[in-house]
């Protein structure tokens, strides 16, 4: 019988530990699929960060290293400088990348470091049980903004894609989501383009994924997807912020 569907070889057989309805799993799978489709799995070196995905070095089938909180872009820089011919990527949450690790991501981008950063924005700190993240929406209730995020006290959400797109070294920046088939296909295209940018040595490539955290949002998986559509996308519009016309 012909095989019509197979689990990607870009992932190991280790079962994911993510909560039901969490879209980290989808994002893992499409990154892995793209690596296989582009035939770069054997060249890829990934950097896990600190957050719910701290141990995705066990899930991605390529070489992997786990980095300290926020420091993945610096670790990736070190790797890429040793192996300029390999494909180096980071996988980071919004606490990791947009809070404690802002310096590292901004400067990796400014240096035009030839790496891909995959940024998963779920508007909270997932792993440490739902604290406010820099990406938390105004009014959003979290364990550390129990009365809703108040701009007067807690400031405003950070739009990382827009911010990084202003840097010369960042040559490709796109925000995607994974809420349905169509958006997942678009996200895959973005991942592939980011890797191609790296293959061609053009500079820093950044893909932001709007992702769910049903557990800390207190929503079921379906409502969580809807919450992205209704609340996150207005603050974090999807699209290409840099490198739209880049032919790779």
């Amino acid at each position: 019988m012909a095989i019509v569907f197979e689990k990607t070889k870009g992932l190991t057989d280790k079962p994911f530990h993510y909560c039901p309805g969490c879209t980290h799993g989808i994002i893992h799978r499409i990154i892995a699929e793209v690596m296989c489709e582009m035939n770069i799995l054997d060249d890829a070196i990934g950097v896990s960060s600190v957050g719910c995905t701290y141990n995705n070095y066990e899930y991605f089938a390529c070489d992997m290293v786990q980095a300290a909180h926020g420091r993945a872009p610096a670790v990736a820089t070190g790797i890429k400088r040793v192996h300029p011919g390999n494909m180096v990527f980071t996988y980071q949450g919004d606490g990791d990348l947009a809070s404690i690790g802002t310096a590292e991501i901004v400067h990796a981008a400014a240096r035009g470091e030839k790496i891909c950063a995959f940024f998963v924005n779920n508007a909270v700190y997932g792993m440490t049980s739902g604290q406010m993240a820099p990406t938390t929406l105004l009014g959003q209730v979290t364990t550390t903004s129990p009365f809703g995020r108040d701009a007067n006290l807690q400031g405003y959400p950070i739009n990382m894609s827009e911010m990084l797109a202003t840097l010369q070294g960042a040559v490709y920046v796109e925000r995607v989501t994974v809420v349905d088939f169509k958006s997942i296909q678009q996200a895959k295209k973005a991942i592939a383009k980011a890797f191609r940018v790296q293959q061609h040595g053009l500079g820093f490539a950044f893909v932001e994924f709007l992702s769910t955290c049903p557990t800390n949002w207190g929503k079921d998986p379906v409502d969580s997807l809807q919450w992205i559509r209704e609340n996150m996308i207005p603050q974090y519009p999807l699209g290409v912020f840099k490198g739209k016309d880049l032919e790779v």
Binding site: N55, A61, Q66, A67, T77, I79
Partner: protein, 356 residues
């Protein structure tokens, strides 16, 4: 040995690293070690390596972590405040068992402190600084020649044990010029690194490098493994110099720049009939506990004098080694000040008189 050249300590460190096969340098400017960076910026690319000025010491040590995980021979350098920022990275490097060499050209603290030489980072360097049960090899050279030789050695030790090796100097050592003789060929030993991240290529399994063990039994097993390694290092890698300790009445213990001043005082003391010797730890960790304990056990040893450029840090390790057998005196200067020879001689005379 080839011809002798006159060079600044910091430049010798950089030159030694390149000679040792180090091809990756990541750093952030801070006085009094910046010449290391300048030298690397000039020479690393020519040597076929990479120099990156990082956005901070935090980033620099994490670049070191990445480059080392990728199998590179890698160096970062800084001075006290910058080293404080690197401590999280040191802990991760220890946990992931990655080889790395770090230079700390110590300046006075705490806080922003000053830019003059000090030894106030002894505790931080030898007792941890970062979180968790880990050790770094700490080497404290006292001359430019030794700085050169020990820097080369540091890379071999780092690779041999998959550990962080720190060269602990101070502003004087970094800034002063002395003649140095470079070897024709360096004794470079780089072991195979089958664990390194190179891309899976034809390997069956992917390589992973991490320091997290969620299961308590796994984490305990990892810790035991680390401690076993540290035991081997403690047994095999202690380095020290003994000077005139045979028949000495007073034994000075001092390291680095400070030991150079003490060396002169020993001569002066012998001129006035007081037999003074010195034990100079070259590795601060592992510490030469046994040689100090053996000296303490000798009947002719009457007392120890520990001299440091701090408020008394290594003296705790000296006391542990002496274990109450003989009195241990301490004399220190701080803030970037160095003790004068007469100042130290006065200490020796006082101890000598007390012992009568």
């Amino acid at each position: 040995m080839s011809k002798r050249v006159l060079m600044k300590g910091n430049e010798v460190i950089a030159e030694a690293a390149i000679r040792a096969g180090c091809r990756y340098y990541f750093g952030y400017p801070i006085t009094p070690q910046t010449e290391i960076m300048h030298y690397m910026a000039l020479t690393m690319n020519k040597a076929g390596g990479t120099f990156v000025q990082a956005e901070s010491e935090v980033a620099a040590i994490n670049m070191v972590y990445g480059a080392s995980a990728a199998g590179g021979r890698v160096l970062t350098s800084s001075s006290s405040p910058g080293i404080s920022l690197k401590q999280e990275g040191f802990s991760y490097i220890a946990g992931a068992e990655l080889p790395a060499v770090v230079v700390n050209i110590v300046r006075g603290g705490p806080g922003l402190g000053g830019i003059l030489p000090a030894q106030g980072d002894y505790f931080q360097a030898t007792k941890g600084g970062g979180h968790g049960d880990y050790r770094n090899i700490v080497i404290a050279p006292a001359s430019i020649q030794e700085l050169y030789e020990m820097t080369v050695e540091a890379f071999n030790l780092a690779d041999k044990y998959r550990m962080l090796v720190m060269i602990l100097g101070d502003g004087t050592l970094g800034q002063m010029m002395e003649p140095v003789s470079f070897r024709e060929k360096e004794p470079i030993v780089i072991p195979e690194k089958p664990w390194a991240l190179t891309g899976r290529k034809d390997r069956e399994e992917h390589n992973t490098i991490q320091s997290i063990y969620i299961n308590p039994d796994d984490l305990e097993a990892k810790n035991i493994e680390l401690q076993d390694k540290y035991k081997v290092v403690s047994r095999d890698e202690v380095r020290y110099e003994e000077l005139n300790t045979e028949g000495a009445e007073i034994i000075i213990v001092a390291f680095g720049t400070c030991s150079r001043i003490c060396r002169n005082v020993i001569r002066q003391a012998s001129g006035i009939g007081i037999k003074v010797g010195m034990i100079r730890p070259i590795t601060l960790w592992p510490f030469p506990t046994e040689v100090i304990a053996a000296a303490a056990a000798k009947p002719e040893t009457r007392a120890f004098l520990d001299v440091e450029l701090n408020a008394g840090q290594m003296v705790e390790d000296v006391r542990l080694a002496v274990n109450g057998k003989k009195p241990v005196h301490f004399y220190g200067r701080m803030g970037g000040n160095l003790p004068g020879q007469q100042e130290l001689l006065d200490q020796i005379i006082k101890i000598h008189e007390e012992g009568k």
